[in-house]
């Protein structure tokens, strides 16, 4: 247990540093949420909707965490594959999940840059006051959301091991999750089919927790749900990852690009 935690912590620090050094990664995952926040803010203004700018900034920021997780988790497996290091990771004595988990957590963590940048952008450009109703709970809600998204990234990463066109999946999933999880449009306004889907996605609850901590409300239930879903993702991701890696080895497709 201690070794697993140590490996996770060391891997997380390593990948956070590595991803932070990638200008392309940081700029692309930060820039889209800024554009989205600006677009949504102008739409809110033009539509005369009042009092939604902090709501928009927070939603776009969490979208940035999602983009970073998606792009990072999918891309990282693919980059390892291109560089020929995926086989080495799979063959390492440490459990595969313990090598991949820090990476997906790190990609979600780097997404915090997006949250910070959209909040600062909102304050500078749109004069959005950054007043938190429950600052302490906000400080708890953000890491919980990051953890939930990072663990969702683990489930995605497991499919990327088997699926050679992982970056296509990354490209495809950005807007569906943005749409379904109510990051910028309340889930209640979405089509009926979208609501049950939103319940099993941690970003829905993580976003609710962050919003209620920032704008008022009781975020504890949402926070607990985010962590519960995160635990489910960890179990699911571990099982899928080990099995998909075994399948990829059986079929000798691990290194195929």
């Amino acid at each position: 247990m201690k070794r697993a935690l140590r490996l996770t912590a060391v891997g997380w620090v390593f990948h956070v540093k590595g991803l932070t050094m990638s200008g392309f990664f940081v700029v692309t995952t930060t820039f889209l949420p800024l554009v989205l926040a600006t677009t949504a803010s102008y739409m809110a203004r033009a539509g005369q909707r009042q009092g939604t700018l902090l709501y928009v900034s927070l939603g776009a920021g969490v979208m940035g965490i999602w983009s970073s997780t998606l792009f990072g988790s999918g891309g990282a497996i693919q980059w390892q594959r291109w560089q020929g290091t995926l086989e080495l990771i799979v063959a390492a004595p440490a459990r595969f999940v313990l090598v991949i988990l820090p990476l997906t957590l790190a990609t979600a963590t780097v997404g915090i840059y997006s949250l910070a940048s959209t909040l600062i952008w909102g304050w500078l450009v749109f004069g959005v006051p950054f007043h938190l109703v429950h600052p302490f709970l906000f400080v708890l809600a953000v890491p919980a959301a990051v953890l939930g998204l990072g663990l969702l990234g683990l489930v995605l990463a497991s499919t990327f091991v088997l699926y050679r066109y992982a970056n296509a999946l990354s490209n495809m999933l950005e807007f569906p999750v943005l749409f379904v999880t109510g990051l910028l449009v309340p889930v209640a306004l979405l089509p009926g089919w979208a609501q049950p889907v939103s319940w099993v996605l941690a970003p829905t609850w993580g976003m609710n927790a962050i919003r209620q901590a920032a704008l008022g409300g009781s975020p504890l239930d949402d926070l607990a749900m985010t962590l519960l879903l995160g635990a489910c993702y960890l179990v699911l991701g571990s099982v899928l990852l080990e099995n998909f890696a075994r399948l990829a080895r059986d079929r000798a497709t691990l290194a195929l690009t």
């Binding site: 700029v27 820039f31 677009t39 739409m43 033009a46 490209n171 943005l178 910028l184």
Partner: protein, 261 residues
């Protein structure tokens, strides 16, 4: 005859070679499935904000969807020649540069048209987008002009790929800037003046405005000014793109930097 062969045969072969990694399993999720949710997302965001009709967002996003091909594929059409190590052999050939250039544009533009048409079909199937039947040929013409304009813009960015180390960062940023500045989801009148001014110099802005007018029954004649502006903007980008391509070729030969990063 040689020119036609360079444009169509050469362009087709180069597209197949440069985009040999595009498999249906890659193409369908990236170019078709993802953008469906882009349209749905902005339609619902528009409804939530009480801004414009569904048709406004369907048209804006269906036209803009072609930008993924127009910007990224265009950039790759030039930058990847350098990355794959084929740029120097290509430029060592005596072939005229303009047909080489145009040959690379056509498949990219055709791809953009397919994606945009798919976006309109999805808008029709899922969101009840129903333009008057009589306006569909004009709408198709406007989409063709917009896709041309965006492809020319993409080639302008791609030409920097003959010199710059990481042109994909530029194309990513440009793609998202167009999203915001070109009136795709926010009416130009709702943007600050400087943003609207920049937007008017970018591809899509006039095309989207014309397409929106056609979708509610305007005649082609009444939007001809917008269509001509879009065409003119595309032509200017094409000239700039080709000029940059030639300039970077000459510079690359002089400094022996065609293949260095």
């Amino acid at each position: 005859m040689t020119t036609m062969r360079l444009v169509f045969v050469g362009g087709g072969i180069s597209y197949r070679a440069l985009f040999n990694w595009i498999h249906p399993a890659m193409y369908v999720p990236t170019m078709l499935l993802g953008p469906i949710f882009q349209i749905l997302f902005f339609v619902y965001l528009g409804r939530y904000n009480g801004l414009q009709s569904d048709s406004f967002f369907v048209v804006g996003n269906a036209v803009q969807m072609s930008g993924m091909a127009g910007v990224f594929a265009s950039t790759m059409s030039i930058a990847n020649e350098r990355q794959f190590g084929t740029l120097a052999p290509l430029l060592a050939t005596p072939a005229a540069r303009l047909p080489i250039f145009v040959g690379r544009m056509l498949p990219v533009a055709a791809n953009g048209l397919v994606v945009s048409a798919f976006g309109f079909c999805i808008g029709s199937l899922l969101l009840g987008f129903r333009p008057p039947l009589s306006s569909i040929p004009a709408l198709a013409l406007v989409v063709v002009v917009s896709v041309f304009s965006c492809t020319a813009f993409g080639f302008t960015l791609g030409s920097f790929g003959m010199r710059a180390r990481d042109v994909f960062l530029i194309s990513n940023l440009a793609y998202y800037v167009m999203w915001l500045f070109c009136g795709v989801n926010v009416p130009l009148s709702a943007l600050p003046g400087w943003m609207a001014t920049i937007g008017r110099g970018l591809p899509f802005t006039h095309g989207i405005a014309a397409a929106r007018a056609l979708a509610v029954g305007a005649s082609l004649g009444s939007v001809s000014g917008q269509v001509l502006k879009e065409l003119a903007i595309g032509s200017v980008y094409l000239i700039v793109a080709f000029g940059l391509f030639r300039a970077f070729e000459v510079e690359g030969r002089r400094r022996a930097s065609l293949e260095t990063y």
